[in-house]
């Protein structure tokens, strides 16, 4: 029954390999992990096992415990400390301020109460002209960042606004200036959170331009 044994062996190998399949919490079997895992620090990844793959650099640096996971010990000095490996991101040069692609400095006005907002934004001006193309860009951005609360037409008719008592502003009725809208997107107002970290200043001006067009004449 040699053939029978061979068949059994083939099936056994097959079943063993079937266990390599990913699913649930199991990421599956990896082939050549030291080619898969980044030596440089990879964003959104975590060091879960600092000893994994220690054999990789055991020959070159037997004293350094290596691993596949963001393991390059030339990355930042604190990665020498294997117990608390950290990112090697650099801080900006001291006393410098980053300008964006348009050469703008960061927007610095603070969040203020509703009464003072017009004082804060007084003198501000939308750096973009309200052209058709810009409004179209603003519309796309509005769909990404605003529509799920303020609704497609701006009348707060979205699923979220009708489902939860959030007090979503009706953008078709209110007469807000563009700088006012810009300030509100940046710092939030009422129940609306601050969106300054999500939406870049140029995108905020584009959205403000589009929101102005939502008003019912």
């Amino acid at each position: 029954m040699r053939i029978g044994h061979t068949s059994l062996a083939v099936i056994a190998i097959g079943l063993a390999l079937a266990g390599c399949k990913a699913g649930g919490d199991n990421p599956g079997l990896e082939y050549a992990p030291n080619m898969y895992h980044s030596v440089a620090y990879e964003p959104l990844s975590q060091v879960t096992d600092t000893t994994a793959g220690a054999w990789v650099n055991a020959l070159e640096n037997p004293s350094v415990k290596g691993e596949y996971f963001n393991s390059n010990y030339f990355n930042g000095k604190s990665t020498f400390d294997r117990k608390s490996p950290v990112s090697n991101m650099r801080e900006p040069a001291p006393h410098t301020v980053k300008r964006n692609a348009y050469g703008w400095l960061p927007y610095r006005n603070k969040r203020v109460s509703k009464d003072s907002i017009d004082l804060v934004v007084a003198g501000m001006k939308n750096p973009f002209d309200s052209t058709k193309a810009l409004v179209a860009e603003g519309k796309v951005l509005y769909e990404y960042y605003c529509q799920h609360c303020h609704g497609k037409t701006g009348a707060a008719e979205s699923k979220i606004a009708t489902k939860y008592p959030l007090g979503v502003a009706n953008l078709t009725a209110a007469d807000y200036s563009e700088p006012h809208i810009f300030q509100v997107i940046t710092h939030g107002a009422g129940n609306m959170g601050a969106h300054g970290s999500q939406v870049s200043p140029d995108d905020r001006w584009k959205i403000a331009t589009y929101v102005r067009t939502l008003r019912k004449k």
Partner: protein, 418 residues
């Protein structure tokens, strides 16, 4: 939440109130259709964000307001500037203010007295209407529709089993009848041997036909499992790890229609789509589902106290588990695919808006990448960068031959491996 005292207005308020009081004394809510209609528009535009007529929303339900407020004049003063009224020490105003966690109602100074009265007229008409029949929303709205075909399939399978059993019974009858016929005949020795040779388990298993069949089946199935198994090595398709917070894409992207790009802000700007930082969660979850144990995990991570709305400053990273791991030997950039090619998230990530727990939908193998680069036309719409390339391509290959990603170097090794 705006929460401020307008004490400095109090003197101003008292004088304004004294001035206004006599002129307001004769206010009555109109009942004519035009006022109601006008009131409806005004209500939808100004009040609907925070008020419903019959339901407690951000602010109180407005139905039956006339039985609660001190007077119509009070209502008008409240709508125009509630802060003033509160600061004046008005008893009912302060009661409402405290009842709603000291959240300030927007001051509608631009509304005229008549307009406010129109709104009130609309509210009274609307409140008098009988409640609409409750809309019955079943949890699994699609289930009945989906259940019908599976019931059919079950019926078909059961029917087939019954038919097979009947066939078996009929065959049994035929065999016994034939046996009886044979027994009543005079047979030669050779014929007897054939008829009486027993069909037992061992005679069947030793027959060459059976052995061939078994070996054939075992080897085919075996080799198929081995090859399939080998193909899953290094492929994480179907990987669905348990996350530290049970975030549901089905609820957010599906039911609530939040755009993918609202949270995954990096997707148009760089290589990574980004796991959103908790401040994006907090844009909604300072208000929504604040009692949920999963949301409390966010609060714990960022040191937020929902009762006071303050941050302690003690933070703890949320250890999300990365699902899609492109090997380090290949370079992939989201921005190029989303911005330039205009590919939908679902093309690679599958029906993400239906996933309770996210799993890796695509293979993410090199073959998978190459396949798409061979099939996909270059998106040259509104993109002057490709204009000349497309023109040249059509000149050399003909109008009907569309420029694919492979035609502009989409298959070159160094595009991804460097």
């Amino acid at each position: 939440m705006m929460n401020y005292r307008a004490a400095r207005f109090s003197i101003f308020l008292i004088s304004a109130f004294l001035f206004l009081a006599p002129s307001l004394s004769a206010q009555t809510v109109p009942t004519d259709d035009e006022s109601v209609k006008n009131g409806e528009t005004l209500f939808k535009n100004n009040c609907y964000s925070c008020h419903r007529v019959k339901e407690k929303w951000t602010g109180p339900a407005l139905a039956g307001y006339q039985n609660r407020v001190p007077s119509i004049e009070w209502t008008i003063a409240w709508v125009k500037n509630s802060a003033k009224l509160i600061a004046s020490g008005d008893e009912y105003a302060n009661k409402i203010y405290n009842e709603y966690n000291k959240s300030q109602m927007t001051a509608f100074t631009n509304l005229k007295d008549e307009e406010i009265l129109d709104i009130l007229a609309y509210v009274e008409v609307e409140a008098a209407k009988p409640d609409a029949a409750p809309v019955v929303v079943t949890e699994d709205g699609a289930a009945p529709a989906a259940g019908v075909p599976s019931a059919y399939i079950n019926a078909i399978i059961i029917g087939m089993i019954v038919i097979l059993l009947l066939l078996l019974v009929v065959l049994g009858f035929i065999v016994s009848t034939l046996k009886r016929v044979v027994e009543n005949r005079n047979l030669s020795e050779e014929e007897k041997e054939v008829v009486e040779s027993p069909i037992t388990l061992s005679t069947v298993t030793r027959s060459p036909g059976f052995i061939f069949l078994v070996i054939f089946l075992v080897t085919t199935v075996g080799f198929k499992t081995v090859i399939d198994g080998l193909f899953t090595i290094g492929v994480q398709q179907g990987y669905a790890p348990k996350q530290p917070i049970a975030f549901s894409h089905k609820i957010h992207a599906g039911e609530n229609e939040v755009n993918c790009k609202y949270c995954h802000t990096g997707v148009m700007k760089g290589k990574q789509a980004n796991i959103p930082s908790p401040n994006i969660c907090m844009n909604c979850h300072t208000q929504i589902k604040t009692e949920s144990p999963e949301i409390k995990k966010i609060y714990a991570a960022i040191g937020y106290d929902p009762a006071t709305g303050t941050y302690s400053g003690k933070t703890e990273p949320i250890k999300w588990v990365r699902i899609h791991n492109i090997p380090d030997l290949a370079y992939f950039n989201h921005a190029q695919h989303v911005n330039v090619a205009g590919i939908e998230c679902q093309t690679c990530h599958g029906p993400i808006e239906e996933m309770e727990v996210v799993y890796q939908y695509s293979l993410l193998t090199m073959g998978w990448c190459i396949d798409c680069h061979r099939k996909t036309e270059v998106n040259g719409k509104d993109n002057a960068y490709y204009d000349k390339l497309i023109q040249l391509h059509e000149q050399s290959k003909g109008k009907n031959n569309k420029m694919k990603v492979e035609d502009i170097g989409g298959l070159e090794c160094a595009k991804c491996h460097y």
